[in-house]
């Protein structure tokens, strides 16, 4: 167990190094941060001077190596545009992203699990039909579009919820629902499918035959066995949710990492982009680690092997 954990943790820096190299090369292959920083009328001397001052006149690989060496110590360099530590810009935005992703995760889990279980138990009933509709709608609507429709209905038409920003708790509702919607749909479908599979197993019949109450059969015996694939999907989706924040945060003007990194990307402010990607990567890996640990807890077969 400990060995497993250590191996997983040791992978983190390697993954970050590989991911950052790819990003670094791509970011430098197009655009030029100095030309974006200076007004368009800047002379060649202005550009050269600024490039030198920011250290961008040195070869790409040397800059990458420096970045890597410093990044190990948690120093991602200075933002080219704001001229303050890039990691500060990202960490300032972290609470907003965690709040949004957390709320979305909560909403998606709280709705999809009961929905999926009930749909499986009352197969072809009303709830099952509703769950199917929600799944199809949820999986076929892009976050961007869903967000705009929600703003149109709940802010502009009904005036119930603020259209943008963060601060009051009501401002969290729409972005969290928009972000959690896809995951909710997928999880509901997965839960239903794996519950149906388990409910057809002989041991469920046995459980019923020995006179267990139906809720015990469903929750303990059926869900207990169906939850492993559900946890897998949950982990994958929780990670995907991080990338979903990029779009959701833009639509709803949510001050999180997704938006900060898009803006940095447009300005080719690569220290900030790299810092954001490093933070995203760490969160992603932590989620994977948590999922693995949950397997350990849930499945005695893994624990024994």
């Amino acid at each position: 167990m400990l060995r497993f954990l250590l191996i997983r943790l040791a992978q983190i820096p390697i993954v970050i190094a590989v991911v950052s190299l790819i990003v670094f090369v791509f970011l430098n292959a197009s655009g030029d941060p100095v030309q974006l920083l200076l007004p368009v009328e800047a002379s060649q001397e202005d550009i050269a001077q600024m490039r030198e001052a920011l250290g961008l006149d040195r070869p790409l690989l040397i800059r990458y190596w420096e970045f890597l060496v410093n990044a190990v110590r948690g120093d991602f360099g200075m933002s080219l545009r704001a001229r303050r530590p890039a990691i500060d810009i990202v960490l300032e935005a972290l609470p907003a992203t965690l709040e949004l992703a957390g709320a979305a995760l909560l909403i998606a889990t709280a709705i999809s699990l009961p929905l999926g279980i009930m749909a499986a138990v009352r197969r072809n009933g009303f709830i099952d039909a509703a769950a199917t509709v929600i799944s199809v709608l949820g999986q076929s609507m892009p976050v961007f579009w869903l967000g705009i429709i929600m703003i149109m209905v709940f802010s502009v038409q009904l005036g119930w919820l603020p259209a943008s920003g963060r601060g009051h708790w009501t401002a969290l509702i729409m972005p969290a629902v928009a972000l959690g919607w896809y995951m909710n749909a997928l999880m509901a479908r997965m839960t239903r499918a794996s519950m149906l599979e388990v409910l057809g197993q002989p041991y469920i019949r046995t459980a019923r035959a020995k006179g267990l109450p139906e809720h015990m059969v469903v929750l303990k015996h059926a869900f207990g066995n169906a939850r492993i694939p559900i946890v897998t999907i949950w982990g994958l989706q929780a990670g995907a949710m991080l990338t979903g924040t990029v779009i959701t945060e833009t639509v709803f003007s949510w001050p999180g990492i997704g938006r900060a990194s898009i803006y940095a990307l447009q300005g080719r402010d690569y220290p900030v982009v790299l810092a954001a990607i490093a933070v995203f990567t760490v969160m992603f890996l932590i989620i994977n680690l948590v999922v693995d640990l949950i397997y350990f807890l849930l499945d005695p077969r893994i624990r024994r092997s």
């Binding site: 974006l36 002379s43 803006y263 300005g267």
Partner: protein
């Protein structure tokens, strides 16, 4: 309230009524004060949050707009476009290349630090720091060499030579408190700035809101509104929805389609102002086919500019065949190139291109209002005369890199202007001793130099008009139009937008 005025006739009941009415009045008074506290807060939504509120670091116009509410410059431009004194009360030119400014006395920064010549020298000289170059320096280079203290309330600006536009150039440099800056350091200062301006900095929740509060001791007199809040809302639609929802009072960059929708809402209204920005299609005049003036004129006749304005821009635009936007000082009205496909074809065959040619056009997407639609419409019109356009449309960062490198023979772009003077447009667009690209002319260069040295405004206007005529004949661009800036406002806002794209909250008042 009314009942209070009635004579009290019935002992106890009257006093009960009075009690009730007093309570009612108190309630009303409380409601009014709450209402006015909200009413006195004006919220602006714009696309991006500033990177920093240190003027040496962030020169984006939306950021500069926020800063100009916190800081003052030596010179300022009022809403009507006139140059007015700022922290300098007056100025004179003892030598053609030296300007002396008399500073306002008794002004203090928001934290109490008194303002004097040292702050001016500091605010300018830090821009010249070679180890820590500022993008703001680009606006000064070639106009200001250095700023020095003469006495506590006099500074001198040294120029490389006579510079007719040095006065409006100074508008772009806000004055910072030297001691406070040294005390708290550049990082902290950029996140919590101190100035002498009409509004004091209160707080900045990054990517969320910047809150400014009225400076009660402002030397021009306190502003009409109590609080000014700036919120970044990147998405066009969300910005519009926030306005309709009453979450914000002012939004910039409203698209033409939204105008009718805003006009139809009794709680909202539109504010428009002719912009300093001019849109055009640049051509590489140093290489074929555009080295031939007949080809360039032909393309000007082949594009129906009025149709572009009417159909794509929703009527918000003004045809202009001058290098200078008509809102700028010195701009002169030039005869338009009429839309005439036959004339275009004739000119093209005279130049040896009777079958037209294939050409690549570089253009941004999402940077200017309707930029993609404009490129497509222009390409469609050009195909009528046999000019077959292939679009190259990278995102903005890559666009700028390719544009600066002069990689493509044609491009759609717009030029703005920070000093609201024709001269800056000439610098941007004409390759001369300064920085322009794609077009060069010795005659024009000589005239550009001449107007730059001419302090007599009438004579200078004459030279500028000559330049514009010369350039119009050369037709180095497909002349398109000047933009109109459209703002969406809540009905209670009383504000006339400025042509320089800044929202200066000192000019805003609120009617309930």
């Amino acid at each position: 309230m009314k009942r209070d005025l009635q004579p009290c006739q019935f002992g106890r009941r009257a006093s009960a009524a009075r009690l009730a009415s007093t309570a009612g009045a108190a309630l009303i008074a409380a409601a009014v004060s709450v209402g006015s506290a909200q009413g006195q807060t004006v919220t602006l939504a714009q696309g991006v949050d500033p990177e920093s509120l240190d003027p040496a670091l962030d020169t984006l116009i939306t950021s500069v707009g926020v800063m100009m509410n916190i800081y003052d410059s030596l010179v300022w431009r009022d809403a009507d476009g006139n140059i007015v004194p700022g922290l300098a009360e007056s100025w004179e030119f003892p030598e053609p290349d030296r300007m002396e400014l008399t500073l306002r006395q008794g002004v203090t920064f928001h934290n109490g630090e008194p303002f004097n010549a040292d702050d001016v020298v500091f605010s300018y000289q830090r821009l010249f720091d070679e180890d820590n170059p500022s993008p703001l320096l680009t606006s000064l280079r070639g106009f200001v060499d250095s700023v020095e203290k003469v006495d506590d309330y006099t500074v001198a600006v040294n120029m490389p030579g006579p510079r007719a536009t040095v006065v409006p150039t100074l508008i772009r440099v806000p004055i910072l408190p030297e001691e406070t800056f040294a005390e708290i350091g550049p990082d902290a200062f950029g996140s919590a700035p101190v100035g002498t301006g009409p509004f004091e900095f209160v707080r900045w929740d990054k990517n969320q809101q910047i809150v400014l509060e009225r400076n009660e001791d402002y030397w021009r007199g306190p502003a009409a509104i109590e609080r000014f809040v700036v919120r970044p809302i990147p998405e066009d639609f969300s910005r519009f929805a926030s306005l309709r929802n009453g979450e914000v009072d002012i939004i910039a960059n409203v698209t033409a389609e939204r105008v009718e929708e805003i006009k139809g809402d009794p709680g909202l209204k539109i504010g428009t102002v002719p912009s300093v920005r001019n849109m055009f299609v640049g051509m590489q005049t140093a290489e074929p086919p555009f080295d031939d003036v007949r080809v360039r004129r032909a393309l000007n006749h082949a594009v129906d500019k009025q149709a572009l304005i009417d159909v794509i821009m929703g009527g918000f635009g003004r045809q202009n065949a001058s290098v200078c936007t008509q809102t700028l000082f010195g701009a002169a009205e030039m005869p338009l190139f009429d839309y005439d496909v036959d004339k275009a074809r004739t000119l093209l065959s005279e130049a040896g291109y009777e079958d037209g040619f294939e050409i690549e056009m570089l253009g941004p997407v999402g940077r200017y209002t309707k930029d993609k639609e404009l490129q497509e419409a222009i390409a469609g019109m050009l195909s009528e005369v046999g000019v077959r356009v292939t679009h190259v449309q990278p995102e903005w960062a890559e666009f700028i890199r390719l544009w600066v490198a002069e990689e493509y023979p044609m491009h759609l772009i717009g030029t703005g202007n920070q000093v609201v003077d024709c001269d800056q447009h000439l610098g941007y667009r004409i390759h001369g001793p300064r920085y322009g690209r794609y077009y060069q002319s010795d005659e024009v260069d000589a005239l550009v130099e001449e107007q730059l040295r001419e302090y007599d405004t009438e004579k200078r206007k004459q030279i500028l008009a000559d330049i514009q005529r010369e350039v119009r004949e050369d037709a180095p661009w497909i002349f398109l139009f000047d933009l109109v800036d459209i703002y969406g406002l809540t009905a209670r806002i009383d504000w006339q937008p400025r042509p320089d794209e800044m929202v200066w909250a000192y000019d805003i008042s609120v009617s309930e």
